[in-house]
């Protein structure tokens, strides 16, 4: 069972709420995914459109734990105020901390991230930092008080999967007791399964579901893949080998002649 900041979850899939064709498709996709945590954001509210008020009603209907993000923040200061606004707005001290270094790659600014994480953890936030696979950043985030790390698979929305598999493997091996969630870059259910087979504790994704031809079916596909990957990790996979190894017993093979066996 997945445990994050003292709360247990049955599902290991975290789903984003952005980019769906309609609120109804979003609602159906969340249900099909079985996700118990959905990510949300906050944006400027117009007095005329009042867009956020309708979205809040939808969030309440979903009945899932919300994980607000600080998407779009570039300095160490912006995410502090954003997290504080999110805490009041959504009534949760959980925050997906994003500090963006570069708009083309949307890669985390690890220096701003560590700084902001320190401030927010000290203020009592449960910080889930969107980070890279960098080990020193991971150590500093944990020292700052983060109990969960969310390294990227590849750039947000890129659908490239696990771009640096060996580094993610190292991170997993080095922090066996820290919940690790792959966040961003997931395109296919096989990417999610791969992360889970490596022993990652969960997968956070959005675009791969929201922009799929059939988001509801894709949400279910990801849920199955994440479950399959976790089962494989728990079961223990066999090691790959270079040469074939017959799975059918050799003993008693009909027409067997000893010289064929050499």
């Amino acid at each position: 069972m997945l445990e994050l900041y003292g709360t247990r979850f049955t599902s290991r899939m975290l789903l984003g709420t952005a980019g769906y064709a309609s609120p109804d498709i979003l609602r159906q996709a969340v249900e099909a995914s079985g996700a118990e945590i959905v990510t949300v954001s906050l944006r400027r509210e117009s007095a005329r459109a009042r867009t956020g008020q309708g979205f809040w009603a939808l969030i309440e209907q979903l009945g899932r734990r919300v994980l607000p993000n600080t998407a779009g923040c570039h300095t160490a200061k912006e995410p502090i105020a954003t997290a504080q606004m999110a805490r009041e707005l959504f009534g949760t001290n959980w925050i997906k901390l994003e500090v963006i270094a570069n708009d083309d790659t949307l890669q985390p600014d690890l220096f701003g991230l560590v700084e902001a994480a320190g401030v927010l953890c000290a203020e009592g936030f449960a910080v889930l930092p969107y980070t890279t696979e960098d080990m020193s950043a991971a150590e500093r985030l944990i020292a700052a008080g983060c109990e969960v790390l969310m390294p990227w698979g590849s750039p947000i929305g890129s659908a490239r999967g696990l771009a640096n598999r060996s580094a993610l493997q190292t991170l997993r091996a080095y922090f066996p007791d820290t919940p690790l969630i792959v966040d961003a870059g997931i395109g296919a259910p096989s990417h999610a399964a791969e992360a889970m087979e490596m022993g990652y504790d969960g997968v956070l994704l959005n675009t791969a579901v929201a922009k799929a031809g059939d988001p509801v079916k894709m949400a279910e596909g990801f849920a199955s893949a994440i479950k399959a990957g976790r089962l494989a990790y728990e079961a223990g996979m066999i090691e790959p080998r270079d040469m074939a190894s017959p799975s059918t017993p050799l003993a008693g093979t009909p027409f067997f002649k000893i010289d064929h066996a050499s």
Partner: protein, 65 residues
């Protein structure tokens, strides 16, 4: 008085953040606020005086990844 509301110039007669929210129809809305880059809790809006050129952010829940 002219302020910057959500990044745009805005003329208002409101003297406090609370009055500004009410004038915009946000009195009972699901919004959070910041002035000049710092968070202002809902309970502190009444005591938060606005001055010329203040930068006010009023935000609400939105879809996110």
């Amino acid at each position: 008085m002219q302020i910057l509301l959500n990044g745009e110039r805005f003329v208002t007669e409101a003297t406090s953040l609370d009055e500004l929210c009410a004038a915009l129809g946000f009195a009972d809305a699901k919004v959070a606020t910041a002035v000049n880059g710092s968070f202002v809790a809902a309970t502190a809006r009444g005591n938060t005086q606005l001055t010329e050129a203040d930068e006010v952010e009023i935000v609400a829940p939105r879809q996110g990844g």
